[in-house]
Amino acid sequence: MTDLVCVQTDDFDLAGEYRRLRDISSRVGAVVTFCGLVRDFESSASDIDPDAPINNLTLQHYPGMTEALLADIIAQAKTRWTLYGVTVIHRIGTLAPNDQIVFVGVATEHRKQAFDAAQFLMDYLKTQATFWKKVTADGKEQWLDTKGSDNDAVAEWGKSRDD
């Protein structure tokens, strides 16, 4: 089992996830990890003062569908690059600033594969996996909108098939 997909309320441990990826094969020469954290501000919520400190984020998802979509995104990445191991972990529930939200890790032979695949996975996760985020700040709460830059990032992958 070289790939791992988890949607969980619990926090995750970067060191343990890295160790798993590093030890998958003696041919692994590169491990790239991405951790997404809750920032203390949110400039994309129209109803909320962009300078107001964030109280928390609430992450909702569609159980069953999310895991299937994440597995499909990993399968798509594997048609582009030779990946020895992939981990995607996404937290749900209520999170506070500085909390970890999402982990993506990729183990490959060479660094370019690992960087590109990790970025691809995050770009697709952001725009295709069934998660929804609500921000609470400034005494208000608001469900966020998809960012245009995230859709642009996925469109770029559609144009390029080089690795």
Partner: protein, 99 residues
């Protein structure tokens, strides 16, 4: 459980139960995330459900008409005119914002 009558069409086939899921802001507008409806005719589609919801939940139905809102049946994205069957799970999906 709500009785769901789609216009004045004649019932054909067996009635059934359809599970409706509303995610993100749609859940706030629907007042609940998960809702079962009894369907008393066989030509139900997500589009017909949206029209039926407009009777009692105008702001929800308006949001469901936004072009970015997708619909899935049994966790697969489908077109709005997909025929529905007893036991189907219909989810209304606003633009995703994970990560």
């Amino acid at each position: 459980m709500v009785n769901l009558a789609f216009g004045k069409q004649t019932t054909q086939g067996l009635p059934g139960v359809i599970d409706l899921l509303f995610f993100g802001r749609l859940g706030d507008l629907a007042g609940e995330v998960d809702r079962s409806v009894s369907c008393i005719e066989s030509r139900a589609t997500p589009l017909a459900i949206r029209e039926w919801l407009a009777l009692d939940h105008q702001s929800l139905a308006k949001e469901l008409c936004e072009p970015q809102v997708l619909v899935s049946v049994n966790k697969m994205i489908v077109k709005w005119d997909q025929p529905l069957f007893d036991g189907d799970e219909v989810a209304f999906l606003p633009p995703v914002t994970g990560g």
